[in-house]
């Protein structure tokens, strides 16, 4: 009975993975398809990758996205890390936690049009800077959540020791706290970068005509004529984001918590 049930669960898991990965595998395979058709295999080809390199609009969009994601990552990582320490140590309140987390829960279109109305009211010109502002709003919350999981392993007695040895709070933070939580901070930064570079809805509403980001470009390509170049773009994006997230995941898992635990006595 139990064995039959576990066999059923195993089969279900297998089907679920097939469902999750089939679309990704198909897109990557099609990106090497010489025929360019989703229906017929015309042999292996790198032609769509070559076309991609020659697509100036796409390269411009990628450049814009990298600029946005760079600024967003820098600002969101600093704000998110400070927020994480503040929430962990000064004000322990579940209400504050969930209220601050609202931008990550609210459907993105609401945040998108809210910011658009706000920028419009203040006569802000839309551009890359407005996308940066918008992305930081939800990105810093993800950074804060990730850094907090790392802070939970941190032994505060190390900080007290530093203070006893005459370090001021800023020195203690820079030389003791930050190195200990650094893997969490880097993981947060990687997640912030990935979220920003993939983000479409908020950027779509808050970008000006000259500030087209990569997802906006991809959307236009999908919307107005499917070309095989999208498959090549898709394959590259998949591989890059999967690599980034795998790195982030390894960093958030403390190995034996060696860096943050002070051995007392034993």
């Amino acid at each position: 009975m139990a064995a039959r049930r576990s066999r059923y669960l195993r089969a279900h898991m297998g089907l679920l993975f097939a469902f999750l990965y089939l679309p990704i595998v198909v897109l990557v395979a099609l990106s090497f398809n010489a025929s360019g058709l989703p229906t017929a295999w015309g042999g292996f080809s790198l032609q769509w990758y070559r076309d991609l390199v020659g697509n100036d609009e796409l390269l411009e969009a990628i450049r814009n996205s990298l600029i946005v994601a760079g600024f967003v990552t820098a600002i969101a990582t600093v704000l998110g890390t400070l927020l994480a320490i503040g929430l962990q140590r000064t004000v322990r309140s579940r209400v504050l936690d969930s209220v601050l987390f609202l931008p990550a829960v609210i459907p993105d279109i609401v945040l998108a049009i809210g910011l658009l109305s706000f920028f419009n009211l203040l006569r802000f010109t839309l551009g890359l800077h407005t996308i940066v502002i918008a992305h930081v709003v939800f990105d810093m919350i993800f950074v804060a959540a990730i850094v907090r999981t790392r802070l939970a392993y941190f032994d505060r007695r190390i900080e007290e020791a530093a203070a006893d040895l005459g370090a001021n709070p800023v020195t203690t933070f820079l030389l003791v706290t930050l190195p200990a939580i650094l893997p969490g901070v880097i993981a947060g930064a990687l997640v912030a970068f990935t979220l920003s570079i993939d983000e479409f809805v908020i950027a779509f509403f808050n970008s000006g005509p000259t500030s087209v980001t990569f997802p906006i470009r991809v959307y236009a390509m999908i919307r107005f004529g499917v070309t095989p170049v999208i498959n090549a773009v898709a394959a590259i994006v998949m591989v890059l984001s999967l690599a980034t997230i795998l790195i982030a995941l390894t960093l958030t898992r403390p190995k034996g918590e060696r860096s943050a635990r002070l051995e007392v006595g034993a």
Partner: protein, 298 residues
Amino acid sequence: MSTATAPARRVRSRVWGPRIALLGPGTAWWLVFFLVPVGVLIAYSFFSRGPYGGVIYEPTLKNYARALDPLYVGVLWTSVRVATIATAAALLLAYPAALFIARASPRWRVPLLVLVILPFWTSFLIRTYAWIVLLNPAGLINRLLRGLGLVDESLPLLYNEFAVTLGLVYAYLPLMVLPIYASLERLGPQAAEASADLYASPAQTLRKVTIPLTLPGIVAGCIFVFVPSLGNFIVPDLLGGGRTVMVGNVIQQQFLQARDWPFGAVLAMSVIVLMFVVLVVQAQVLRRTQEVEHGRPA
């Protein structure tokens, strides 16, 4: 007196100094670029559209009255229906998977979870686009069905409500697995073992012990799927082909094409209100489960 207040003030500043330094910048950003914009949106919903698309600052309720038009109530109903079906389907797919991972040997749990969550971190647009490739009349799935002789003609899989629902399930499935897994892991195997010792069948154990005690995870997962599905406009836009119109599509259209921002704001308010209803339900379920766990009468 003054000597007594000086140290007190110093203590207070020692408490508030770090608070402001740590929480200040983030909450300031949150206030200015989240709370104020949502406030502006709420305010806009009570004004009217100007002749050239601007906003006229005269209070009115006519946008709300217009939202009661059967056309828009219908759109809202479609959104709720599609999001509900997608959530239910995701739950049916996710619960057995979470159960499998929670019962796997500890060595395998993290790799399995990572495999579930990985697709979620790749581009949302591209994952949705993949289904255009798979579902279209000449796509892989239809070719497979015809090749196996299951159907004579291609099935209309794309550009309908089925495609939209499927796209939403695919997009948010990992968000259902994670919280359910977390609550299964927190529960541990003991409860199910005790139930089996008391001669409950596996089905009874699942129905009367495991599922009720993992209800907080189930509800959290349902929220993570339902809320973003409700306001989604990419999936209905790309996979619905203009036939399955959800509230997100109308909001986008009001803001970017019709340029009736006050009416778009009203539709956004309906999404916010529905989201809060769902969050209140979650709070209720959490309280109920905690009461059960602590042995108080439910």
